[in-house]
Symmetry: C2
DNA sequence: CGTCCTATTGAATAACTTCAAACCCGGTGG
DNA sequence: CCACCGGGTTTGAAGTTATTCAATAGGACG
């Protein structure tokens, strides 16, 4: 597939190794899969998805649990008329698709060409049934997702457009900044659908932050934060 | 305390029994505490909170896990300037305050006079460490909260005011309707802070639904749904 | 070097909020 | 028993924020 070779980020990561991107995120990834697979001797498979390819659909049976090796994934829900709410972005190291019940409650798509590792949900269930530490880890991962969702409800329900964009920039800075610069894998529409805004409103907020010198661009998706303190202040 | 006897809902439930309200909600409550305490022989204490009393604060150590016996509880986050997002309402039978980590990430307050049962978090942790079924149940409860949060993100990020109110009414109808009527324990401001709207917008939406004959009032907080199909249609 | 997709910017519009006043009802006290 | 509070709710009018519709600009890639 030529499309894969078009994405330099995916190539680089794949060439370098199994999981860790070239520059490990500041965020504590600590190999969440390893904590499980190491313990229970589970078999992890690798797989790739092309840009915009669906990984699983909403309400599909949850057969696998995934970890992003390289690339990026969006998890989302749709309304009948096409309005979309992205609940989370999954970046290298992140686990996604983990369910306690039988089905995926959000759909997942690759934002860019993406490599994942995956294990069968059933084998995790089995491991959790015999190993209390595995069970504890699964709970902790779901609880981590819940915390993010709770923070995001506050953003969606009560923050202004500028506050939402500021929060987003700080989150992405924390999760994927390399040498003070972040390479956003997602487009403005994705950001808008994550923040409950239109793509135009996101663009206007970013332009305003740029005009105030709070951030710098080198291409629309390459952003440098020049003043995190002011961004925190805008975050409310 | 006279205040307690003023709330008929609380009285009725307390008189009838420990947990189940007179008319069990369609929603599967199935005594979530019992599934744990029965298994591990944990000691549950009872406690009461008066209207608007704080049960725990945001970021407080999570010492207990609670179950509503009667009354109602709101879980919420605040921004520094006082804007509030209610993440969930907890009604009789619901478990709340369950954390995988060390602290409560939302604050909780009694909406009306409320009775709870509670168990020490540490004893649950201990039980989960020896009994895989308990561990599995705790995970499932957190996963249930996550599902609700994911649905609510869609509402907060992408639904219109009318759609939000319609969703709210259907949720409350499902969870606390008795003989086709629901007695809302919370005020319009609470509803607004749950739906990411102002109390005035909530009131206007309810008035409009009333004018269209979709619901009936007998007092501002006693609502009868007269046409669930049309409400579902408005929900998008 | 052109093409296509994405992003930016502008202007008009719509939805919701804000501010304000009136109303309603449950509870209190005369 | 009734009048009166007072918090909560409804309704109205003006204002604000974000959306929508439209056009231009920018970049990556062939």
């Amino acid at each position: 597939m030529l499309t894969q070779t078009l994405n330099t980020q995916a190539i680089n990561t794949q060439v370098r190794g199994k999981i860790a991107p070239a520059h490990p995120p500041a965020h504590p990834v600590s190999d969440q899969f390893g904590a499980i697979t190491g313990h229970a001797g589970l078999v992890a498979t690798e797989f790739s998805y092309r840009k915009d390819e669906e990984i699983y659909g909403e309400d599909e049976p949850a057969e696998y649990v995934y970890q992003v090796v390289s690339g990026a994934v969006r998890s989302y829900k749709l309304l009948s008329d096409g309005r979309r709410q992205i609940g989370a972005f999954h970046l290298p190291g992140d686990v996604f698709g983990l369910e306690s019940g039988p089905t995926h409650r959000l759909a997942a798509e690759a934002i860019i060409d993406t490599h994942v590792r995956l294990v069968k949900r059933a084998s995790l269930e089995k491991a959790a049934g015999t190993d209390v530490l595995v069970a504890r880890k699964l709970w902790a991962m779901t609880a981590g997702e819940l915390r993010h969702a709770e923070d995001h409800m506050l953003l969606l329900g009560r923050k202004t457009a500028m506050e939402r964009v500021a929060t987003f920039l700080l989150e992405m800075d924390r999760r994927l900044a390399v040498a003070g610069m972040m390479a956003l894998p997602m487009c403005r529409r994705d950001i808008g659908d994550y923040l409950g805004l239109t793509l135009e409103t996101v663009s206007r907020a970013l332009s305003q932050l740029h005009a105030q010198g709070i951030l710098g661009f080198s291409g629309a998706r390459q952003i440098v934060l020049r003043n995190r303190a002011r961004l925190h202040h805008l975050d409310a």
